[in-house]
C-alpha cells in the first residue's frame, strides 16, 4: 500500500473488509506479481529489454570499438582516405563480425541493430497512433451510444471489410518514395490507421460496461461534463485491456512493416529495418544464408517475446480471463 504507516496509525471507525487490501494493493503491484510467476512472460520481457537496449546503444558501441560506422565511414575525419578494414562476405565469422558481413562488407550485427531501431520505432509509434485513434473513436461511440454509436461502429465494420494491406500499399505507393524519412512517417501513419479498428471495438466494449457503473452515474450527478467523464473517468479504467492489446499490436505492426519493407514498399535505403535487411539477404541466400538468417531470426525472437509478454500481461491484468 502506498501509505501504510498513515493508514494504520488511526484505526478506521469500521474495520476494512478483509478482501480490500487484496483487490487493492494497487492493480499494478498485483499484476507485476502475477506476471513474475509467468516464466514465458518474464523471458519475453527480458528478451525485449535486451533487444531494445542493444538497438539503442549497440551501434554506438560498435562505432566506438571499431572506429567505423556500420557502413565503414570512419568516425575520425582524418581517416577518411585510409583503407578501411574491408571484410568480404566470405562467411568467416569473427569476434569483429559475429553475424558476418553483407555483400558491401558492412557488419550485419550493426545493420541488424540499426534496423531494430527502425522496426521497434515503427511498432511503437504506429501502435501509439492506433491507440489514439482507437481510444477516441471507441470511447466516443461507447459513451454517447444510440445512433452515434451505431453509425461509428458500422463505419468501423465497413473499414474492417476493406483489405487493409491494399490500403497501406496504395497509400505508400501514392505518397511514398520522396525521402527516406518521409516514407517512415508515412509508414507510421498508414500502419496506425489500419490497426486501430480492433482497439476501437475493445475500448467501446469496456466503456459500455463501465458506463453503467455507479461511479459514472455519480460523476454525472455531480455535474462533470461528458468530455471530462470520458477522459478522466472512463479511459483510465479501460487501460488494462488497452495495454494488453497494445502490447500485442506492436509485434503485429512490426510484422506488417517488415512485410512491406520486404516488398520494397516500406523503409527505404539508407535506412534499414529487419524487413528490408531480410529482403537484401534473400538475394544472396544460396551463397551467404546468414544475411537472411540473422535479421530474420532476430525479428522472430523479438516478435515471439513480445507476444509472450503480451499474453502474460493479459493474464496478469485481467484475472477473470484466466483459466481455472
Amino acid at each position: 500500500m502506498a501509505t501504510p504507516s498513515s493508514s494504520l496509525a488511526v484505526p478506521p471507525a469500521d474495520a476494512p473488509r478483509a478482501d480490500a487490501p487484496v483487490t487493492g494493493t494497487s492493480l499494478g503491484k498485483d499484476a507485476v506479481k502475477r506476471l513474475r510467476k509467468n516464466r514465458l512472460a518474464v523471458f519475453g520481457f527480458v528478451v525485449v529489454c535486451i533487444v531494445v537496449a542493444a538497438s539503442l546503444v549497440g551501434p554506438w558501441i560498435i562505432e566506438r570499438a571499431t572506429g567505423y560506422t556500420y557502413d565503414y565511414i570512419p568516425t575520425d575525419p582524418s581517416l577518411v582516405n585510409a583503407q578501411p578494414p574491408f571484410t568480404a562476405p566470405d562467411g568467416s565469422f569473427s569476434w569483429m563480425h559475429p553475424m558476418g558481413t553483407d555483400d558491401a562488407g558492412r557488419d550485419i550485427l550493426a545493420r541488424v541493430l540499426l534496423g531494430g531501431r527502425i522496426s521497434l520505432m515503427v511498432g511503437v509509434i504506429s501502435t501509439f497512433v492506433s491507440l489514439i485513434i482507437g481510444i477516441t473513436v471507441g470511447a466516443t461511440a461507447g459513451y454517447v451510444g444510440g445512433k452515434v454509436d451505431e453509425a461509428i461502429m458500422r463505419g468501423v465494420d465497413v473499414l474492417y471489410s476493406i483489405p487493409y494491406m491494399m490500403v497501406v500499399i496504395v497509400l505508400l505507393a501514392f505518397f511514398g518514395g520522396r525521402s527516406a524519412i518521409g516514407q517512415l512517417v508515412l509508414l507510421f501513419i498508414a500502419l496506425g490507421a489500419v490497426s486501430w479498428l480492433t482497439m476501437a471495438r475493445i475500448v467501446r466494449g469496456q466503456v459500455m460496461s463501465l458506463k453503467s457503473q455507479e461511479f459514472i452515474l455519480a460523476a454525472r450527478a455531480t455535474g462533470v461534463p461528458a468530455s471530462r467523464i470520458i477522459l478522466r473517468h472512463l479511459v483510465p479504467n479501460t487501460l488494462g485491456p488497452v495495454i494488453v492489446y497494445a502490447t500485442l499490436t506492436i509485434p503485429s505492426v512490426m510484422l506488417l512493416e517488415s512485410f512491406l519493407s520486404f516488398l520494397g514498399l516500406g523503409v527505404q535505403a539508407p535506412l534499414a529495418s529487419w524487413g528490408s535487411l531480410a529482403a537484401d539477404g534473400i538475394q544472396n541466400i544460396a551463397v551467404f544464408p546468414w544475411q537472411l538468417i540473422c535479421p530474420g531470426l532476430t525479428m522472430a525472437i523479438t516478435l515471439f517475446s513480445l507476444n509472450f509478454l503480451g499474453d502474460g500481461l493479459r493474464d496478469a491484468l485481467d484475472p477473470q480471463m484466466r483459466k481455472g
Partner: protein, 341 residues
C-alpha cells in the same frame, strides 16, 4: 414560502420492446426548504427513477420523462438546457448512491475526486480545492484526513467511502441532497453512523434531504414526512409520526407489519405482504396493489383508486383510505364502515 422542490404529475416511462414500463406514473410532491422527506417502497416501486428524473439522469432511450413538472426553486428543470442542468447537478442538487464500493472511481485518488466537484462548480484553484477536500473529509469524520485524502478508494472501507461520497455531495453546499438508499450496502452499526452524519450535516447546513430507502426503521428517526410508493405511484404521504400512528393505506399497513419487532417474545412468524411487486409494464386495471391486498374488494380491481386528502398533510391512494384512517385513529372502536366511499 414556496417549496424548494415541487414535483407535479411526473411520469417517467421506459420503452420495453412493445410494452411501456410506467416506472413513475403521476407522482406529485412538495419539499420545503430544510425538510427531510423519506421515500419508501419495495424494489421497483419507482423511488430511484423519481429522483433520477429530478436530476435528469434517466438513460434515454429507453427512458423518457413523458409529462409532469419538476420545479426547483422556481425553475422548471425539465425545460432547462442540458448545460444549465449540468451546472445545477452537484452544486445545487447533490446525490449519494447506494453502493459506496462502486460509486467512487477506482483509478482516481479521493482528493482528485473531491477536488473535481469544487473546481468545477466553485471555480476553486488547485490549492484551494485541495484544502477544501481535506476540510470536507474532516467534516464527515474521517480520521487523519490530511494523510488519507491522497489515498485511492480501495484503501477506504465501505463506511469510509460512503463518508467520502457524502463529503463530495456536500462540497458545494447544495440546497437539496438526494440520498438513494445511502445505508443499504453497509453494516448496521455503520448505517447508524452514516444516518447520524447526514442528520447532523443537514442540521448545520439547512439542506433539504430526500432519503430513499426500503427500510422503515431508517426513515423513522430522521424524516419529517414519508412518502410511500408502489408501482410508480404515491400510495400515501404523511408526516412521519402520523404515518406510523395512523397508516391509512393497506400497503402502508402491510409494510409496517413487516418490520420485525424485537420485543416480540412469541417468535411469531414475521408478517410479509403476500405476492410480489407487479411488473410495471403489465399492470392490472384498477389498483396495482389489489392482487396482494387483503382489504381488496371488487371496486379495487375495476377502478383506479382516488387520492384521498385525509388531512392537509396526509393523503392516501385507496378506495378505503378514510375508513382506515378513522379505524387507526380509534384503535378500540369496531372497524367503522361509514368512511368508505
Amino acid at each position: 414560502m414556496a417549496p424548494l422542490l415541487s414535483v407535479r404529475e411526473l411520469r417517467t416511462w421506459f420503452a420495453e420492446d412493445a410494452l411501456t414500463a410506467k416506472a413513475v406514473d403521476g407522482v406529485s410532491f412538495d419539499l420545503a426548504r430544510g425538510e427531510t422527506l423519506g421515500i419508501v417502497g419495495e424494489s421497483g416501486s419507482g423511488k430511484s427513477v423519481t429522483t433520477l428524473s429530478i436530476m435528469r439522469l434517466i438513460p434515454q432511450p429507453p427512458g423518457r420523462i413523458v409529462s409532469g413538472e419538476i420545479v426547483f426553486d422556481g425553475q422548471d428543470l425539465r425545460a432547462l438546457p442540458a448545460e444549465a442542468m449540468r451546472r445545477i447537478r452537484g452544486k445545487r442538487i447533490a446525490m449519494i448512491f447506494q453502493d459506496p464500493m462502486t460509486s467512487l472511481n477506482p483509478f482516481m485518488r479521493v482528493s482528485q475526486q473531491l477536488m473535481e466537484v469544487t473546481r468545477l462548480h466553485l471555480g476553486l484553484s488547485k490549492a484551494e480545492a485541495y484544502e477544501h477536500a481535506v476540510q470536507m473529509l474532516e467534516t464527515v469524520g474521517i480520521p487523519d484526513a490530511r494523510n488519507r485524502v491522497d489515498g485511492y478508494p480501495h484503501e477506504f472501507s465501505g463506511g469510509m467511502r460512503q463518508r467520502v461520497m457524502i463529503a463530495m455531495a456536500l462540497s458545494c453546499k447544495p440546497e437539496l441532497l438526494i440520498a438513494d438508499e445511502p445505508t443499504t450496502a453497509l453494516d448496521v452499526t455503520i448505517q447508524a453512523q452514516i444516518l447520524e452524519l447526514i442528520t447532523n450535516l443537514k442540521r448545520d447546513t439547512g439542506t433539504s434531504v430526500i432519503l430513499i430507502t426500503h427500510d422503515l426503521g431508517v426513515v423513522a428517526g430522521m424524516t419529517d414526512r414519508i412518502m410511500v410508493m408502489y408501482a410508480g405511484r404515491v400510495f400515501e404521504t404523511a408526516p412521519t409520526a402520523e404515518l406510523f400512528a395512523r397508516p391509512s393505506n393497506p400497503y402502508t399497513v402491510g409494510l409496517l407489519a413487516s418490520v420485525p419487532d424485537p420485543t416480540d417474545d412469541a417468535h411469531a412468524e414475521l408478517y410479509q405482504i403476500p405476492g410480489l411487486p407487479p411488473d410495471v409494464a403489465r399492470l392490472p386495471p384498477g389498483c396495482p396493489f389489489a392482487p396482494r391486498c387483503a382489504r381488496a374488494e371488487r371496486i379495487c380491481r375495476e377502478q383506479s383508486p382516488p387520492l384521498i386528502q385525509l388531512t392537509p398533510q396526509h393523503q392516501s391512494l385507496c378506495h378505503f383510505a378514510q375508513e382506515l384512517y378513522d379505524a387507526a385513529g380509534t384503535p378500540t372502536a369496531a372497524t367503522g364502515d361509514e368512511g368508505a366511499r
